[in-house]
């Protein structure tokens, strides 16, 4: 029997190459140019590992931009602002006291202040957007919350970039990627968590979760302020020789993607509980109207926890490799390692319960929040109070 031709048309899914637009290629070109410049300037100081890291960064950024359009504009903003700050500094930190742009916007303590303040403001506006009576006002407010969050994340990343440069301007004792003490990693936590949340916004076309999701970032921002004003957290001190290793550049960020994902997972768990309660009390209320439905929230919570688990696993194993090289033991039952293990076991149990016993809803939401408390208590408590190999974050 002949088969009519029209029934076989329009079936091809365009391949990746064909789906890419001119904009995508432009993005790739920009990243490659940036990478080439970096390689040209620094390859004399690079070893194989650094070359590999640079190449992977380039590939990762191209892929991330293709995968998530908003990331492109964000990266460009971070690049332009960071390079401007670096250019303004020239070869002397003294410029921070002279140049108005550095003084009020771009020098790292100022940029961090901006970032934290913007997070707090964004959070407030998101919450307002969830709470106001009028739906159109809500839309407007939520959009503004989103813009402010992008601004906060941008400033935070710029701050880290600039801080990196500042540490090199201070001298060889201080020169280090700024993810090595408690203050640094709080800034890192803010930006990573903010970015992870923003990805959700794009992916689910939903902004109403912002007010709840960012609560944890707001708390961390307040703590950043506390460190800054009570403990001179923004001061860049000399670096412990143990931390002079390329491992820190992958070990710490991997773990903070994990921590950030757990943090949002817990906040979504909170949103689940809030919505479940609202559905009972005010079935037609604003929260019920605006928050994603329970099943979506459950799904989102699971996804963030799974993402966190993957990166916690990766980060911990990278840490083990580093530990083997630095301390001669891949596992020392150091408080921090043990804390990571406890957190890992907790989420492993959570995921097992969901998969194999099919647990959903309230218990899992509460458990997720408890999990975050455990993670936080472990992270800050171990860092600040228990002596060990990882005590880099003492106050």
């Amino acid at each position: 029997m002949p088969i009519s031709r029209d029934i076989l048309e329009d079936l091809d899914e365009p391949s990746l190459l064909r789906r890419l637009t001119g904009r995508d290629w432009l993005w790739a070109l920009l990243v490659l140019i940036g990478t080439a410049i970096a390689f040209d300037r620094f390859h004399a100081d690079f070893g194989t590992i650094q070359d590999v890291l640079l190449a992977s960064t380039a590939a990762g950024m191209i892929a991330l931009g293709w995968f998530w359009r908003q990331f492109e504009g964000f990266s460009l903003a971070v690049t332009v602002l960071s390079l401007s700050a670096i250019a303004l500094y020239g070869n002397s930190l003294a410029a921070a006291h002279r140049d108005p742009l550095l003084l009020f916007l771009l020098s790292s303590p100022v940029a961090i202040t901006w970032s934290c303040a913007l997070f707090l403001l964004a959070n407030a506006i998101y919450l307002l957007g969830l709470a106001v009576r009028s739906d159109s006002a809500s839309q407007g407010l939520l959009s503004w919350g989103s813009r402010l969050t992008w601004a906060a994340v941008t400033m935070g990343f710029v701050a880290l970039m600039v801080r990196w440069r500042e540490s090199y301007l201070l001298g060889p004792a201080e020169a280090q990627i700024p993810i090595s003490d408690l203050f640094d990693v709080f800034v890192l936590f803010n930006v990573v968590t903010g970015l992870l949340y923003l990805y959700f916004e794009t992916r689910y076309r939903q902004k109403s979760l912002g007010g709840l999701a960012l609560l944890i970032v707001s708390a961390a921002s307040l703590f950043t302020f506390y460190l800054m004003f009570q403990f001179h957290g923004a001061h860049i001190g000399p670096v412990n020789p143990e931390l002079r290793s390329y491992w820190i550049k992958i070990h710490v960020p991997a773990l903070f993607i994990g921590y950030g994902a757990f943090a949002i997972g817990a906040m979504v768990g909170g949103a689940w509980l809030l919505r479940a309660r609202a559905e009972r009390l005010y079935p037609d209320g604003r929260v019920t109207r605006r928050l994603p439905d329970l099943q979506t929230l459950d799904d989102v919570m699971y996804r963030y926890n799974a993402l966190g688990f993957v990166f916690l696993t990766l980060g911990t194993i990278l840490g083990a490799l580093w530990a083997e090289q630095a301390w001669g033991a891949y596992w020392s039952w150091d408080p921090k390692e043990t804390e990571a293990l406890v957190v890992w076991l907790n989420y492993a149990a959570w995921l097992h319960m969901r998969y194999t016993n099919g647990w959903r809803g309230k218990t899992m939401a509460i458990w997720t929040i408890v999990g975050l408390l455990l993670t936080t208590a472990g992270f800050i408590g171990v860092d600040v109070f228990l002596p060990g190999l990882h005590s880099f974050g003492r106050l």
């Binding site: 088969i3 143990e242 194993i317 301390w327 149990a349 194999t356 016993n357």
Partner: protein, 673 residues
């Protein structure tokens, strides 16, 4: 651990053997979760309770009763405790059983396309859609096949009695994720067990090995505390002085150690600490030579933090540093007689000082070339200052009671004046209290020592007191021998009290002898007399040094010396050690490990990482298209799908495919869902 419902079927009920029951228990989810929680709790205990401290510290902290209880529970070394290893072994077993029971089904799932699925079960799936079209079966099936293939689906096709079934699958590797993660955990734990202390502990328990708890040099350690080359896995430490060679390491065990022999000789040629200009150490480098007598090989390398030396499965790390027996020159000033004894010694050496009640054993403990002190500055920043070299030592009396001292070579600038500092404490739990010896006008401690000696010289005191009494009586125009003797005696008495116990002893004496209501006035008088006496003694000391007209500077020195003289009795030693020269010899603290299990652990870790990525970022999705010819030239199409992860994403994908699939088909009618 149970599988998803889609993967397994409930077995028919029948009498089960004991083995099956045990297996079921071992592989059960509840057991697994219980074990995970148990490990977590143990880990929390191990974190909160500091591990591997000296037993005496624990005893102090918990008291004798709880110390014993905790010791019996193995809480001081949780991770080597029998019960903890038992839980881990249980966890390995549970996970293995789980993989054993579910693994084959998982592998089948990857291969099986389930073409035999019934249309009823397809209709029960949450995602399914039906259409009745007038298009021909052949065309519809060709369309479905091409659609799925073009979108990357692996396909199987079955045709039977006018029904064509297409079964498509994507992301089957997700199931591999399950296998890789669980097998990975088992492999990691197995590797960890290979590297554990378990074999050594067995040797301890069975009496083949004894822990050495005495502080002995390595050469004196008896043979039953030594391990030969056969040890499977170990991690030990050794401190090798510059220029020395060692072929063993210490393995810490319980509250002592055993000695592990190495197959090679390790010589430390030089140890260097590099500093930043701010004084913080920037790097630690050990230049070592490794010589293997088995094959005659010699390797030279510099070991740094993060850059170990790896040789034949042994890894040598820069772990710490210390003194390697620095040679020291010193002068021991006796604080009650002004005698000075010159001596030589080396760090870790023990030397006898003095005789009789002044006999002390000098134990030189440590030498530090730099002492970076952080002076607080503005805005939380600190300015580093180098106090120069120092020596830590103990002075132990005949009863065995020791005090710990730290003496700085150079005088330090404090409030604009130079002082020689000597810290003292009775136990390591206390902070050092510092004796401030004011430096003489030309540096040195000679003037202070002369002053201390004069205070302990009865002849000097008598002469000074006599002269004071004379002057006082003359001023009062009294001539009375008896009175003069009494004034002299009481002045000598006061000076003696001061020399023995400072102002405190003088005041205590007044309290004892003078009624309460007259104490204040008496104290005023006595202290005045005492101070004149001290000035007299000082004048005598100055005169001996050829100074008859003391300047303001001399008197300033006196003002600073008196408080120090007053607290000299609390110094706790009849000597002040002035260190005058040194030859610095350092020791590199190296950690040497032999961990054959590392490769196994890494393999497991790689499996685990790959596994979690497959497990969470892939989902195992299936789509079925069941097409049935209606006889009169049309086709009934049933489009259905399932996923084991991320249903929301799959729903989107499913709906997109469904819409493309159905778009050109001319529907007769779309049945209700």
């Amino acid at each position: 651990m149970k599988l998803e419902e889609t993967a397994g079927r409930l077995p028919a009920r029948r009498r089960r053997s004991t083995a099956a029951v045990v297996l079921e228990f071992l592989g059960s989810m509840n057991l697994a979760i219980t074990l995970l929680v148990a490990v977590a709790v143990a880990a929390v205990i191990g974190t909160v309770l500091q591990q591997d401290q000296a037993y005496s510290d624990y005893q102090l902290k918990f008291g004798p009763f709880w110390f014993q209880v905790f010791k019996a529970l193995g809480l001081y070394d949780v991770y080597s405790a029998g019960w903890f290893l038992f839980i881990l072994a249980f966890l390995v077993t549970s996970t293995s059983v789980c993989v054993w029971r579910n693994g084959p089904a998982m592998l089948r799932e990857i291969r099986r396309f389930r073409l035999d699925v019934q249309s009823k079960s397809l209709e029960r799936m949450r995602l399914h859609a039906k259409i009745e079209t007038s298009s021909e079966l052949a065309g519809v099936s060709a369309r479905a096949e091409r659609l799925l293939r073009n979108n990357g689906w692996r396909l199987r096709r079955a045709e039977h009695a006018g029904v064509i079934t297409l079964a498509g699958m994507k992301g089957g590797a997700n199931r591999l994720g399950y296998l890789l993660t669980h097998v990975g955990i088992v492999v990691i734990l197995a590797g960890g067990l290979m590297d554990s202390k378990l074999p050594l502990q067995y040797k301890l328990v069975s009496g083949q090995l004894k822990v050495e708890t005495r502080d002995l040099p390595a050469s004196k350690v008896p043979a039953d505390s030594r391990l030969g080359l056969g040890t499977f896995s170990f991690r030990g430490n050794i401190s090798i002085p510059e220029g020395s060679t060692a072929n063993f390491v210490y393995l810490p065990m319980g509250d002592g150690f055993v000695i592990q022999k190495l197959p090679f000789d390790l010589t430390v040629k030089k140890f260097t600490v590099k500093h930043y200009i701010t004084g913080q150490p920037s790097d630690f480098l050990s230049q070592v030579v490794l010589h293997d007598p088995r094959n005659g090989k010699t390797i030279e390398k510099t070991i740094r933090v993060n850059h170990p030396l790896v040789y034949d499965g042994y890894e040598i790390y820069q772990a710490s540093f210390g003194d390697g027996g620095t040679k020291l020159d010193f002068t021991a000033w006796s604080l009650d007689g002004g005698k000075q004894t010159k001596g030589k010694g080396a760090v870790f050496g023990r030397y006898a000082l003095g005789t009789g009640s002044d006999a002390r054993s000098l134990e030189l403990e440590d030498f530090r070339l730099f002492n970076i002190d952080q002076l607080p500055g503005a805005r939380g920043q600190t300015t580093p200052r180098n106090l120069g070299p120092s020596v830590t030592f103990k002075l132990r009396d005949a009863q065995g009671v020791a005090r710990e001292y730290v003496n700085y070579f150079a005088p330090q600038l404090i409030d604009g004046q130079m002082y020689y500092l000597s810290g003292v404490r009775a136990s390591p739990a206390e902070p050092f209290r510092y004796l401030h010896i004011p430096a003489g006008p030309h540096g040195g401690v000679e003037r202070f020592m002369a002053m201390a000696a004069a205070l302990h010289d009865p002849g000097v005191l008598k002469r000074v007191a006599g002269r004071m009494a004379e002057a006082a009586l003359q001023a009062a125009r009294v001539k009375n021998e008896k009175m003069r003797a009494r004034v002299t005696d009481s002045t000598v008495h006061l000076l003696n009290l001061f020399a023995r116990g400072g102002y405190d002893m003088v005041l205590a004496d007044i309290e004892k002898r003078v009624p309460k209501d007259r104490r204040q006035s008496a104290a005023d008088v006595f202290l005045k007399v005492l101070n004149s006496g001290l000035e007299g003694v000082y004048a005598h000391v100055l005169a001996q040094q050829g100074i008859t007209q003391p300047t303001q500077k001399d008197w300033n020195w006196f003002q600073r010396a008196v408080p120090t003289l007053s607290v000299l009795s609390e110094y706790g030693a009849p000597y002040y050690l002035q260190f005058t020269g040194f030859k610095h010899i350092q020791a590199a603290g190296l950690q040497i490990t032999h961990h054959p299990g590392t490769v196994v652990v890494y393999t497991g870790a790689a499996m685990l990482v790959l596994g979690v990525f497959l497990l969470f970022f892939l989902s195992h999705r299936r789509i079925w298209v069941r097409m049935e010819s209606r006889g009169e030239g049309g086709t009934n199409v049933l489009f259905a799908g399932t996923t084991n992860r991320n249903p929301a994403d799959f729903e989107r994908e499913f709906n997109r495919l469904k819409e493309i699939m159905f778009a050109p088909l001319k529907p007769d009618r779309i049945p209700e869902r």
